[in-house]
Symmetry: C2
Amino acid sequence: MKPSTSIQDYLKRIYELTENGSPASTNDLARELNIKPASVTGMIQKLANEKPALLEYQKHQGVTLTSAGKKAALEVIRHHRLLETWLVQTLGYSWDEVHEEAERLEHVISEDFERRIAAALGHPLRDPHGELIPTADLKMPLDDSTPLSALRKNQTGKILCIKGADADLLRHLDELGLTPNAMIEVTDYSPFDHNLTIKVEKKTHVLGLSVTSKIFIEQK
Amino acid sequence: MKPSTSIQDYLKRIYELTENGSPASTNDLARELNIKPASVTGMIQKLANEKPALLEYQKHQGVTLTSAGKKAALEVIRHHRLLETWLVQTLGYSWDEVHEEAERLEHVISEDFERRIAAALGHPLRDPHGELIPTADLKMPLDDSTPLSALRKNQTGKILCIKGADADLLRHLDELGLTPNAMIEVTDYSPFDHNLTIKVEKKTHVLGLSVTSKIFIEQK
DNA sequence: AAAATAATTTAGGCAAGGCTAAATTTTACA
DNA sequence: TGTAAAATTTAGCCTTGCCTAAATTATTTT
Ligand SMILES: [Mn+2]
Ligand SMILES: [Mn+2]
Ligand SMILES: [Mn+2]
Ligand SMILES: [Mn+2]
C-alpha cells in the first residue's frame, strides 16, 4: 500500500535528517514537520512496527530508515524534485516559489504522471535548486559537490546546488547571481568569522558561513 | 477555510446531481461517491449546519447547494476541468485517461497554479470532453448545447461535449471520430428504439439512446 | 388501506493522526 | 557526582470521515 500523505512527509524528513549518517531525533523531526514531539513519538513507533518496518527505532535513540523506508522516501523526493523542475520550466514559477506547490502535489501524482514529466523534461539530474533527483529505480545519485564554505582564496568552481535555504535567502542569492551553474571565484577568506569574498559575474560579495555552507560547488 | 478533500468531492457531486433542478438524494450521492448512505447522511447533516451553510437539507428530501456551496463546488470543478485540459495539452494524456489524475490534483493545487495553467492555456472555455469550464469568478457559462438524442433526420451540428461517459465509451467514441468539434449529420431516426443513424467524416454509425443522450451538439 | 419494499436516518464503533499534561529518561553542568 | 534542564515517552483525549446494524420513514404494490 502507498503510504499516507502524513507518512510520506515523515519519511522524507527522516531521509533528509539522516543524510549526515546519524539518526533523526524526535525533536528535530517534530520541528521539521510542525508537529508536537509527542505525536512524532506515536508515529515513529507505528512506522517501526509495520509488517515490513519503515523505520529502525530504539527508544530515546532516534530513528533511521530501513531499506523499505528509504525506498518510500526516495519515491516522494523524486516526485518533489521532478515537480519543482517541471513547474519552473513549464509554468514560469521562480525557484523560490515552487517548493510549497510541490510539497502538496508530490503526494497525489500517479506513477504515470511522474514518467510523463520526467520524459518531457529529458530525465533531468537536478532540480531548480540543484538538488539531485533520485533515479526512476529509486537510487540517489552520488553527490560530488563541496560546500562553498570549504573553498579558500583563488579556488574556483561552478555552483551545483543551493541546499536548505528559505525563500528569502533564495531570492537574495538570485539577485546576487548565485544560482546553479554560476561560476565563482574565491578572492579572500577571513579565518576569524569564516567570511568568504567571492566573485561572480564580475561582482564581488562577502558571504558569511550561514550562507556559504548552503551553497555547493563542483570544484575545478 | 478551504473545505477538505472529502467535502470538495461531496460538493462537486451534489452540483452535478442537482444540475437538473431537483435535489440530490442520499442514495444517489452515496453511489457517486462510493460511500455508504449512512455516512452520506452524516456528512450532509454536518455541511447543512455549518456557519455559512453549504447545503440546504430537509430530512428525507435530499440536498441542494446554497450559494456558498455552489461557489465551493464551482471552484473544484474549475480546477478539475482546467487540469484535464492542461494534462491533455502539455503531457499528452488522451481524453479518456485524464479524469482520475485530475480527480486527485484538483484538491491540492493553489489558486496561483490555477491562474498559471488558465493563462498558459489561453483561458479555455471547455475541457477535453467539451465540458464548460467555470470562469475565474466562479460562474458557470450558459450551456447552449442540445443532446444528440433530440436531433432528427437531416439535422446537422457540431459536437460540443461528451457528458457522463466512462473511459471505455470515450475510447469507443474516439475510434468512431465522435469527439468535440466533429461535424455530424443525422441520416435516420428509428422511433421504436430511438436509434439514430449519423454520418461523421464520411462514415455512418447507428447509435442507441444510451450513447446519443451523452453527446451534446451545437445545432446549425 | 395494508403490507411489503425501498430509502433514509440513528446509534455505536473504529482508524488515522493530531493535541496537552504528566511521567520518565538522558544529558549537561556546577 | 548530584542535580537541573532538556528530550522523549506515556496516557488520555479530540476531530474527521468512514463503517455496520438497527430503527424509522416514504413509496409501491397488492
Ligand atoms: Mn509534502
Ligand atoms: Mn513515483
Ligand atoms: Mn476528487
Ligand atoms: Mn481555484
